[in-house]
């Protein structure tokens, strides 16, 4: 899949995610839009796992530590064929497995996440097991920047370098906003690249909406023995003008009119992309 094909797919995925959140009446809109391009690249280019191999012990694994942005993940995984798109019409419904955070009852989900600061420690276990069994699998997690205030991340960051887990990749969805406001005002975490380097990680800053850059950063192996930290600079609300960098869209749910506007805006962007491709 070419970069422009991925970009076109992202338009449809954003539309699906927004419809899902609108219909469910709840969801994490801004963070979903900021991490969607990362998920698009992971699931359509990087991860060596398919719906058919979702139980293969040698598969690559993805654990979404920022579990609240599950709607973006649902959209990407449904598109990839892990479950029928119609399943997403049940998100948040009575007795539906499709809840507001990932659970293993949904095919392809590796772990139940949602409490922050859990994904990286879990991925250490997955990465150590993959190394013990010499499966060659890589283990990926997605962190939020607000999430980095959880101390468990730093316990795991230390241990990942100690155990030289070069099969482990942590991606930071660095959208610089959290529920209360700017992360730098809530609990400043900069300089992030320096911190992760000091913890012994290979750090690669990248535009988190640039498919070629993301692909390159995620593909090139890190130096032997170094876990890989992708500092993906993103825009919260990316792709919908009135949602971009606006705090209230952290878990704002679009009204009927807002949804229509957003979908139309995305459709126009998609049309432009198609024309450019043609």
């Amino acid at each position: 899949m070419t970069d422009s094909e991925l970009a076109l797919k992202a338009v449809a995925l954003r539309q699906r995610m927004l419809r899902l959140i609108h219909d469910a009446g709840a969801g994490h809109t801004g963070g979903g839009l900021s991490c969607l391009d990362i998920l698009n690249v992971l699931y359509n280019r990087i991860l060596r796992v398919t719906p058919e191999t979702a139980d293969d012990p040698r598969r690559d694994r993805y654990v979404q530590s920022k579990g609240h942005c599950v709607e973006a993940l649902y959209a990407v995984m449904a598109d990839r064929g892990y479950f029928p798109d119609a399943a997403l019409d049940t998100v948040g419904h009575y007795q539906s497995y499709y809840v507001g955070h990932p659970t293993r009852k949904v095919r392809g989900m590796e772990m139940n996440t949602g409490a922050l600061g859990h994904g990286l420690p879990i991925c250490l276990g997955l990465a150590l097991a993959a190394r013990m069994d010499a499966t060659g699998a890589r283990i990926f997690t997605l962190l939020g920047d607000g999430e980095l205030a959880e101390g468990s991340n730093w316990e795991a960051a230390m241990a990942a370098a100690h155990y030289q887990l070069d099969n482990l990749v942590a991606i930071l969805d660095h959208n610089t906003l959290q529920i209360t406001g700017r992360t730098r005002d809530v609990m400043s975490n900069e300089p992030l690249a320096d911190k992760w380097r000091a913890f012994g990680w290979e750090v690669r800053p990248v535009d988190g909406h640039d498919y070629a850059a993301l692909t390159a950063a995620l593909t090139a192996p890190p130096p032997a023995g170094k876990p890989l930290f992708i500092l993906a600079n993103t825009v919260k609300g990316k792709g919908v003008s009135f949602m971009e960098n606006v705090g209230k869209w952290h878990h704002g749910v679009p009204s009927d009119a807002e949804l229509a506007t957003a979908l139309a805006e995305l459709a126009a962007a998609g049309k432009k992309l198609s024309e450019a491709q043609a």
Binding site: P57, T103, R104, E110, M111, N112, T113, G114, A115, G117, H118, L120, P121, I122, C123, L124, G125, L126, A127, L128, A129, A130, M132, D133, G151, S152, E155, A156, M158, A159, H162, Y163
Partner: protein, 326 residues
Amino acid sequence: MFTPAAQAMIGQLGLKKGRANLEEFADTLLALATADRNIIAVTSDSRGSGKLAPYGKALPQQIIEVGIAEQNLVGLTAGLAASGKKAFGVSPACFLTARSLEQIKNDVCYSNVPGVLVGISAGVSYGALGSTHHSLHDLAALRAIHNLTIIVPADNFETREAVRFAASATRPVYLRFGKSAMFDLHPAGTKFEAGRAIPLREGRDVAFLATGETVVHALLAAAHLTGQGISARVLSLPTVKPLDTAAVLAAGRECRAVVTVEEHMVHGGLGEAVASTLLEAGLHPKFKIAGLPDEDTVTGAQADIFRHYGISMEGLSATARELLGS
């Protein structure tokens, strides 16, 4: 630990002293892991206190040290378990079940991976180190989490069997061990089954339903009471959850009084589990929870603390007599 009278009763019952359950755990795990390279121990600077130094020496590829980082210990254990490893996360119960309670709840139990959590030096094993190092909350906290089998062995036999059960379990398990040498309580040929109580003594007046390192005291009390014409039943309940409700209900139906005994606060542990089981079945024998009260725990060694709160032959006998009005 024991008064001269209790020691005499130990002699009369012919109880033989074994070793600390922790040591039995470590040796059992080493034997199992030697035969199964999928077994992995995870420690948080706790291999010494977990008696796992010989394990670490023998099987360096099957032990992972995370440093003093219990949250990482449990998350990492869950990740190993999700990858088909039989992972035993080993850490002092006080830290394991408080600091990393959320990881136990979400990463292990909610994700439903077959991780084993091993709370070492549990209860007031650390005695005079003070309450930072006591775990009197763990049974209450963990009982309120779905999808976790909780086992508190009373002696080396129960320990061995519990570790074997945990190693083959397909769902999460919590094991809780103390560090005092334990008396062997069970005759050869005793059957251990997770979820089942083990009868130690028959009786009709009072039933002692005990778990972990308190069971021996209940047994001594029962023998003591027999000498006073009181017939006392003793059940060891290594599995605190799921509770052996049949054995509990039989005790409530057949005995006039029930005394539960545990090395835990009186809130939320074995005693309240037994109480609700009895009440919901319409049974209301005379009832007392022997455990640690809701107060600043008295200072001292485990033996001092037990004696202070009546977890002793004499104390439990007195509790039973009081309930029976004799």
